[in-house]
Symmetry: C2
Subunit: 393 residues, 2 copies
Amino acid sequence: MEREMEERMNAPASIAPLRFALLAEAGGGQARRGELRLARGAIQTPAFMPVGTQATVKTLHPDEVEATGARIILANTYHLMLRPGLETLRDAGGLHRFMGWRRPILTDCGGFQIFSLAQHARVRDEGVTFRSHIDGSPHALTPERAVDLQIGWGSDIAMALDHLVGLPASREVVRDAAERSHRWLARCVARHRELDGASGGTALFGICQGGLEPDLRRDSARVVAAADVAGCAVGGLSVGEPKEEMAAMLEVVTPELPRDKPRYLMGVGSPEDLWMGVERGIDLFDCVLPTRLARNGALFTPGGRIAIRNRRWSQHHRPIDETCDCDACSRFTAAYLHHLFRANEVLGLRLASVHNLRFLAREMEAIRAAIEADAFGSAAAAFRERYRPVGAT
Amino acid sequence: MEREMEERMNAPASIAPLRFALLAEAGGGQARRGELRLARGAIQTPAFMPVGTQATVKTLHPDEVEATGARIILANTYHLMLRPGLETLRDAGGLHRFMGWRRPILTDCGGFQIFSLAQHARVRDEGVTFRSHIDGSPHALTPERAVDLQIGWGSDIAMALDHLVGLPASREVVRDAAERSHRWLARCVARHRELDGASGGTALFGICQGGLEPDLRRDSARVVAAADVAGCAVGGLSVGEPKEEMAAMLEVVTPELPRDKPRYLMGVGSPEDLWMGVERGIDLFDCVLPTRLARNGALFTPGGRIAIRNRRWSQHHRPIDETCDCDACSRFTAAYLHHLFRANEVLGLRLASVHNLRFLAREMEAIRAAIEADAFGSAAAAFRERYRPVGAT
C-alpha cells in the first residue's frame, strides 16, 4: 500500500486522475467494454462495485473482497461524515489506509442516505440540513462540503451532491429536484476545480435525475453531459419503480451521455438488472443487494436465487453452485452453510457474502467476454433463459 | 485434506491414535513441555485449544483459526448431536470435512452443556435425559452414546461422559457425581474398546471431578489415572470458584496423574490462568473466553485487557498491540477497530477474535520456550508483573 500511495503522490499533477478507454462496443447495441484507469488501479468495465457503507464491506475482510474479483468499492459519504468523521479519516492517512483497501474507492455524495435514512432532512438551495440517524445531532451538507469531504479523505471518485426525490412524485417536484441537482452540480464542479481535486487524485462524477419523466431525464442527462466531470451517473432509479420504467429511462439517458466517459447506474445490482443496464450502455454499477441478500441467506446460483435456510439444503453435501470458484463453493458444502445459518453463525454470513459478490463478479466477467466476442445479445438471452429472478416484475 | 484423510485410513490399526512425548520439564516445578501426535497432526504442548462450539470457531474461517497458530480445536458434542446431528456429519464425511478443518478436533462429552444449557436435565445411573435448548425436543445421552457420537463423526480426541455439579455444592452431592462419573468412565472405556475407537483414530480421555473437596479430587484423579485412557482431564473447575481454589485443586490432582499422558484442564483460558495451569502440570486448555471477550470488544494486550469501544481508542492510529503479528495488528489500527465496534460491523468481531486467539497462541509459544530454556518461573513472574488481569480475585 505504501508503495502505491507513494506512486500516487509522485504522479505528475497534470495527469487526470481518471482515464477511460473504450475497448469494444457490441455491434448494434449499446453495450460497451472499457477500461477505467485510476492512480490506485485499473478497472475493467462493465464492472460491479461492492458497497462498503461504513468503511467495510459488511462481514468481509478487504482481502476477501479483492479475492471476489472486485477492483473498486463504494463507501457512503453520509455514514463516513457522521462516523468516524473527516478528521479521524484524515488523521488515519485517508479512507484507504483506515480500512485497509488499497484499490480505488468511489464515494457517493450522501444525498441518497440523507433522504432515506437521516431525520428531518430539509432542503434549501444552499444545501441540506438533517439530523443524524445515530444520535440525532444536527448536520449540514452543501455541494461544496460534499466535495471537501470526499477529497479530504481521499476518494478516487467523488460524486456531486444531488437532490433525490422518492417515487412516485409529481412532475413539479421531480423537475424542481433535478434543477436543484444541476445547480449543485455546477457548484461541485467549481469546488472540485478550486481545490484542484484532479491533481489530488479525486475524479468527480455528475448525477442526472429526472424521475420517470422522459423529457426531464433527457434534459438532466444533457446538463451532466455538458459538465466538466470525469464520468456521468444515473441517479434516482431502482427506488421501487417497475423494472421496465428503469430500462425506459436508461434508453432516454445514455444516448445523451458522452461516449468517452464512464457511465454509472447507481444502486443497481441484481443479476438480471446488470445485463439490462449493460445492454443500455452502462459501465459501472453498485448495490448493497448481493451482500444484504447474503446476510438473509439468499444466494445467487446460475438457475436463480436460493434460500439456504430451506430444509432442502440440509443434506446437500455439495457446493451451493458447482460452477463457482469462490471460497464458499470450493471449500464448503450447501449443508454446512445451511447449518451455519440455522445456528446463527457469523461464518455463514461471510461465506454467503463472498459467494454473492463472486457470482456478480463472474457475471461481469462473462458480460465483458461476451462484448469482446461480439456475442452480447446471445449471452444475455442465454442468461435470461437460465436465471429465474426473484421479485422481478 | 483428502490426502491426510487417506493417510489416516491407511494407518496400521495397531498404532495408537495418540502418542505423547515429554520433551522437557521445568526444574523444580510441574511445568512440562511436550508433543502430542495425532493422525491429523502434531500439537506442541502446553497448548490452548480454541472452541468451535457449533462446528465453527465463532466469526472465523478455519484458515484464520489455523493462522493464529491453533493446531487443535474443540467442538461441543451437546451442540453437534442436536444440530446438525450425527447422521448429517457422517453423510458429510465426518466433522472435519463438514467444517473444513483438517487438523485434530477434540470434542467434549456434552456433560457441561447438558447441565448448564439444556432444559429439564435428569440424571440416572443409566445416563442423562434432557430437552434441547433449541426446540425443547427430548434427548438422552448415555456414556455409550457419548462415545458412539464422538467416534461416529470422527473426533481425534473424545471425552468420556461425566456428571458435573455446579459449585458450591454439598460434599454428598459432589461425591455422588464424582462416583457416577467414575462408573460412566468405565462404561466409556468399554464402549471405546468395543468399537475399536483407537484403530479408527479416536483417542479417549477421562475426566476427574470432585468439586473443591481435596480428598474427593484426589480419589477421582486416581480413578482416571488408573483407567485405560490416552489422556486425563480435570473437569468441574473454572465454574465461578475463586482462582486460588482452582489452583489448590490442581495441586492435589496433577501429582496423581500419569506423567506420560497429556493433562487437560477444561474450560480455562484467561491469560493469567494459562500460566497458573502450566505451573501445576497442565498440558492442554480450552475456553470460549478469548473469542467471547473479543465479540464484546475486550482485547488482550501485554499490559492487560482493553475495551476497544472506549473513546480513548478512537484516535489511536496504531495497532492495538504493537508486539502482535496477527492480521488485526499488522493491517489495522485500534482506531479502525474502535470504529467497527461502534458501527456494529462484523469485521470488528472477526479481527478481535483473531487477535485474542493469536495472543493466547503467542503466550503458549512463550510458555513453551520458557520451559525449554528452564526459565519458566522467571517468565511467569515477568508475565504477572506486566499483565493486569480483569476479574481476577
